[in-house]
Every structure is written in structure tokens, then in C-alpha cells.
């Protein structure tokens, strides 16, 4: 019906698949937003090298650091969930059963966390290292 109705469902509807989808959408949108910015700022190296330095400085702020940790989370989750969907949809539709779907969603979350946590630690320690100066 509308964005309003949809958001009510995204938030309130009870179902693992629902949340897997909402997260996939949010992470996809998050990543493309970042990517657009990232392409433009990287392009500064050619178009405006001076601005590039400022951009890099911005990236090094702690807030951006946290954002970057989330970005990595997003790419890991979106990628894994995307592969899950691609596999079920294109290779083996027989996997689309309630049992397998629930399990695969949960495993996607587990693997996401397993891959992301070490990355978050590494990246977090980088931030901490540079906090002082």
C-alpha cells in the first residue's frame, strides 16, 4: 500500500525471513550510499588532490571509523545472504523449505558474526591506536 504500511511490517512482522530481508535491504542501501561517496572521494586523487587529503582526514575520525566497522558488517552480511539467496533461487529451489530457510538464515547470521568480529577487533584497535594523535 504505502511506505508507512510497509515499515510497520518490516518492524513488527514476526519472522526470521522478514528480518533477513530487511537487513539485506538496509545493508545494500548502506553500502551503495557509502560506495557512491567513496568513489567520488577517491576520484579526488585525480581531480582535486588537495581535497583528497581532507577527505582522508575525515575518514580517520573515530565516528567514521565506527561507520567503517558497520560497513564491513554490511558487506559481509549482504554478501553472505546474497549468496544464500542466489544459491537457493538459481541452483536449488528445493532448498526453499521452512526448515532449511530458518536454519540457513541463522547460519548466515552466525557466519557473519564470526567473520565480522575479528575484523571489528582489528579495525577497532586501529581506531584506538590513533585516538590520541
Amino acid at each position: 500500500m504505502s511506505f508507512k504500511t510497509a515499515s510497520e511490517g518490516y518492524v513488527k512482522y514476526q519472522g526470521l525471513g522478514n528480518w533477513a530481508f530487511v537487513l539485506h535491504r538496509l545493508t545494500g542501501l548502506g553500502v551503495i550510499l557509502f560506495l557512491a561517496i567513496h568513489v567520488v572521494d577517491t576520484a579526488f586523487v585525480y581531480f582535486a588532490p588537495d581535497l583528497y587529503k581532507e577527505a582522508i582526514a575525515l575518514y580517520r575520525s573515530p565516528l567514521f571509523g565506527l561507520g567503517e566497522i558497520l560497513l564491513v558488517l554490511s558487506i559481509i552480511y549482504h554478501g553472505l545472504n546474497g549468496l544464500r539467496v542466489i544459491y537457493f533461487d538459481m541452483v536449488n529451489p528445493n532448498m526453499w523449505t521452512i526448515e532449511i530457510n530458518r536454519k540457513s538464515v541463522i547460519w548466515t547470521w552466525i557466519i557473519t558474526l564470526v567473520l565480522w568480529l575479528p575484523a571489528a577487533v582489528v579495525m577497532g584497535s586501529h581506531i584506538l591506536e590513533h585516538l590520541g594523535g
Binding site: 522478514n18 539467496v85 533461487d89 529451489p93
Partner: protein, 237 residues
């Protein structure tokens, strides 16, 4: 035992906005949510409005959101829910409200009608006037999707449909699937053409809410994937 139902009420003649009302009453663990609603209507508040007919999950009248997920009121027993907490009962989402738990199903049926949900075969009938032959395996191929009772639980659980009613929705696809994979039918190509369009199967984000909601335990997302595959490959097996 005692149960409390928290029901989303809305009377267009009186209320500007829907609101929740709570009803606490005695019930048996084996009571269906429908039985509880009937009790409320019979003895406490006759204005409570919902659809029902068969009372055993076969007519598709009583789809509603129970504790946040779509189910049939007549197929949901209290003992399968946590009755120590309030049970939330709301209308299915994504269709215009009419009153209380009743929504306007017009769009749902219009979408169903868009996918040619009927048998098409203009070839001559068998000379002896008897049945067209079909092997048990060919019959089995589309068995799952013949079970649909058009309750709408799937379509109104679908995030794409919540946002956009023009998406034909899982139920319509299930009913198209039932004919696309019927060896006797001859209109698969036409249906697939409709479903390959802007309102068709490719709007499905594989959220899977539909399959979880289906009271007939149809593997809906799988059926949708098979339709997608048929469009991509042109194979109907």
C-alpha cells in the same frame, strides 16, 4: 484457564484511528483463536467483527495477524501460543481496513485474476469423450500448489506487497504455478509473460514470510523460484 486477547479494533463509523482493546475470558487450551473470538462476540461484545465460515482451515476466511504473524484463527490453538502473555490479534496488513479484523480483499482477488488462474487447452478433446490422460508423476508435479485456499495470508505477509499492491503477490503466483506446471494446460507461455513483467515474480525479494504464513503448508517461495526459473530457462519440468 484465563486468556487475554489484545485486539486491534476499528469502526469507520466511529473511529478516526484504530485502537487496541483487551478482553480477558475463560478458555480451554484446545480452543482455537476463532473460538475465543466467537465467545467474545457472543457474550461480551457483539460489535467485534471478523470473517469466518468453515472453522477448520479449509475456506480461507479467517486469516489474521496473531502475535505478529499471519495465521488462520481457526487453525491456531491456544495451546500453541504463550497464554501467560497477552495474545495480539490484528487484521492482515497491506489491504484497506473495512472494520476490526475485516479488510477489503478486492485487490487481492484482482491480482489473482491477472495471472490467468484457469485451465486453458483448446485442443480437441479425446475422441471417446473421456479424460485427457496424465501420468501420476505429471499430476504430482503441481500437487502442492493445488492446495491453495486463497486465504491471502501469504500475500499480506509479503514485504513487497505491503509497499506495493500492484505486485501480484505470492498467492497469485502459486495459482499460476498450478497451471504452468500442469501437463494438460497450454497457456504457460502467456502466464509466464505476465509474470515476467513489472508486477510479476521478479518483485519477490525471497523474504519467505509467505511460506511461513501459508496454512496449507505450500512451499510458496519454492514455487515462485520455479516460476522464475521457467521464465529464465523456458523449461517446464
Amino acid at each position: 484457564m484465563q486468556v487475554t486477547l489484545k485486539i486491534l479494533r476499528y469502526n469507520p463509523e466511529k473511529d478516526a484511528q484504530p485502537h487496541y482493546e483487551r478482553y480477558t475470558l475463560d478458555a480451554e487450551p484446545t480452543d482455537r483463536i476463532l473460538d475465543v473470538l466467537e465467545k467474545i462476540k457472543a457474550h461480551e461484545d457483539g460489535t467485534l467483527t471478523f470473517r469466518r465460515s468453515c472453522a477448520h482451515g479449509i475456506c480461507g476466511s479467517c486469516a489474521m495477524r496473531i502475535n505478529g504473524r499471519n495465521r488462520l484463527a481457526c487453525k491456531t490453538l491456544l495451546q500453541t501460543l504463550d497464554t501467560s502473555k497477552e495474545i495480539t490479534v490484528e487484521p492482515i496488513l497491506g489491504l484497506p481496513r473495512v472494520k476490526d479484523l475485516v479488510v477489503d480483499m478486492t485487490t487481492f482477488f484482482d491480482n489473482y485474476k491477472k495471472v490467468m488462474p484457469y485451465f486453458v487447452n483448446d485442443e480437441p478433446l479425446p475422441e471417446d469423450g473421456r479424460e485427457r490422460l496424465q501420468s501420476p508423476e505429471e499430476r504430482e508435479r503441481f500437487d502442492d500448489t493445488t492446495k491453495c485456499i486463497l486465504c491471502g495470508a501469504c500475500t499480506t505477509a509479503c514485504p513487497t506487497f505491503w509497499a506495493d499492491n500492484s505486485y501480484v503477490g505470492p498467492s497469485a503466483i502459486v495459482n499460476a504455478h498450478r497451471f504452468i506446471f500442469d501437463s494438460r494446460d497450454r497457456a504457460a507461455a502467456e502466464r509466464l509473460k505476465i509474470l515476467a513483467g513489472e508486477s510479476g515474480v521478479f518483485r519477490c525479494r525471497t523474504a519467505f514470510n509467505c511460506t511461513e504464513a501459508c496454512p496449507r503448508e505450500i512451499d510458496i517461495t519454492k514455487a515462485i523460484a520455479e516460476v522464475k526459473r521457467a521464465i529464465i530457462t523456458g523449461r517446464l519440468d
